[in-house]
Amino acid sequence: MQAASATPALALRYSRKRDGRDEVAVSASASSVHHIRLPDRDAKTRFIDAVLDARCGRDEVLELLGEDVAHLKPAARRRLRRRVGVLTSAVPLISNLNVWENISLPAAYHGTPPLGPIAEAARQALAAFDTDPERLLARLPDELGPFERKLVEFTRLLVSAPELAVFDALGDTLDSADHARVARFEAEYLARQSAGTLIYVDLPERGA
């Protein structure tokens, strides 16, 4: 009898203790969109680092896609990490590679999947935001504006088809016109990953 691969109820569960009490405790159910506000910049940095590395400190608990990361073996950790995409300023574009090379780098490095479908997916994603994909793909990161950079980072995330996507402070460094454009990232992600989970991570609004 073959075991059915059940989708975990929680896509993410994270908590951090201080003096024996939960200082931060967040969770996100699978196949949905969540907004998480962490108390301060340090808490946000530690959360994003934990998700990026699929690894947590002694005072932290992290479960990603139903797996507790604390006792994962390196190969399992790498496999889990590939199912998670994080859009954050902590993972910038590589400055000496053009946009296409940046988008295709993870796949080209690991040798799978073939680059043809990735190129097509990247063109579609870039075209959906009213840009000329061919021109954009040939440019270097230093030639891009803030929104274009964000779009390329998003496209790099999108072509890796993550089951869980984490958007860290998406609107930071963008003006109000670009805010409206990055808001469409969510629809674009869910259009491609209908069963995916999307988590926005932000700090509390000033004055709140």
């Binding site: 990026l52 590939r82 902590a90 993972v91 910038p92 000496n96 090379e101 490095y109």
Partner: protein, 258 residues
């Protein structure tokens, strides 16, 4: 002292990393990076050395005959010993340090400072695999190719230009040269240049990936350390290599017939 030991240990670790993981070069992204490195180090540097390499050969022949009052045979022997065995690999190493070494050290230091090496790690890419292996192997091969090119230009330049400065014809010089040259002369210089390329990139990649700080001010410091240390390593390697080959261990094996 601790810094020197740490740098030495870092260099040794990098050496073993490249040796153990060279097979990763089969990956498309790394092959691309490798070819770029070969092109930058070997091909784009080639045009700049034509005049200098030709002049070196001519100067050695003219200097030997005029100052030492040597005959054509001795002049060609010195051309062989000096250009093929010593100046060729050293000149190529100098070009590689000045062009590629500085470029690689500053590029990697900038990547480290701006968080791009960490970004690679987050993308599941080992920065040492992706950044170091293609550069080290690419520069090794390019240094060997550049050495052969410089040797060819210096010998040819020496033979073509010398008749304008001394009483010897091109035929005389070339006949003597082909009588005296042996394949061992080429093997010697190729092995040496491969070692030089490896050492230069090892040092430059280490300092690029380990700048003294994480601010833009650290970039020139990393480049200075990379250049001075790789020049020193090349000179030490050259001395050790010459001692091993011409010294006690293989004495007589590759010395030119006098």
């Amino acid at each position: 002292m601790i810094r020197i030991l740490r740098e030495f240990e870092g260099g040794v670790r990098l050496f073993f990393h490249v040796a153990m993981r060279a097979g990763a070069l089969r990956r498309p992204a790394m092959r691309e990076s490798f070819l770029r490195q070969v092109y930058f180090t070997g091909v784009t540097a080639a045009t700049g050395v034509v005049l200098r390499a030709s002049a070196v050969g001519a100067l050695i022949i003219a200097f030997t005959i005029n100052v030492l009052d040597a005959d054509v045979e001795l002049a060609v022997k010195i051309l062989l010993w000096v250009v093929l065995r010593e100046v060729g690999p050293l000149a190529a190493a100098l070009v590689v340090i000045l062009r590629t070494g500085t470029a690689v050290a500053s590029e990697l230091a900038m990547m480290r400072i701006s968080g791009q090496t960490e970004a690679l790690r987050h993308l599941g890419i080992d920065p040492y695999d992706y950044l170091v292996i293609p550069r080290v192997i690419g520069v090794m091969l390019a240094t060997a190719a550049l050495t052969l090119y410089i040797q060819f230009l210096a010998v040819l330049g020496g033979m073509v230009l010398s008749p304008f400065m001394i009483q010897a014809t091109f035929d005389e010089l070339s006949n003597r040269f082909f009588e005296l040259v042996t394949p061992v002369d080429l093997y010697y210089s190729i092995i040496k240049s491969l070692l030089f390329g490896f050492a230069i990139m090892n040092v430059c990649c280490y300092h690029g990936l380990n700048p003294p700080g994480l601010t833009p001010n650290a970039v020139p410091q990393a480049v200075t350390r990379a250049v001075t240390q790789s020049a020193m390593v090349v000179l030490v390697l050259n001395a050790v290599f010459a001692y091993l080959v011409f010294g006690v261990l293989f004495f007589g094996l590759v010395t030119a017939r006098v």
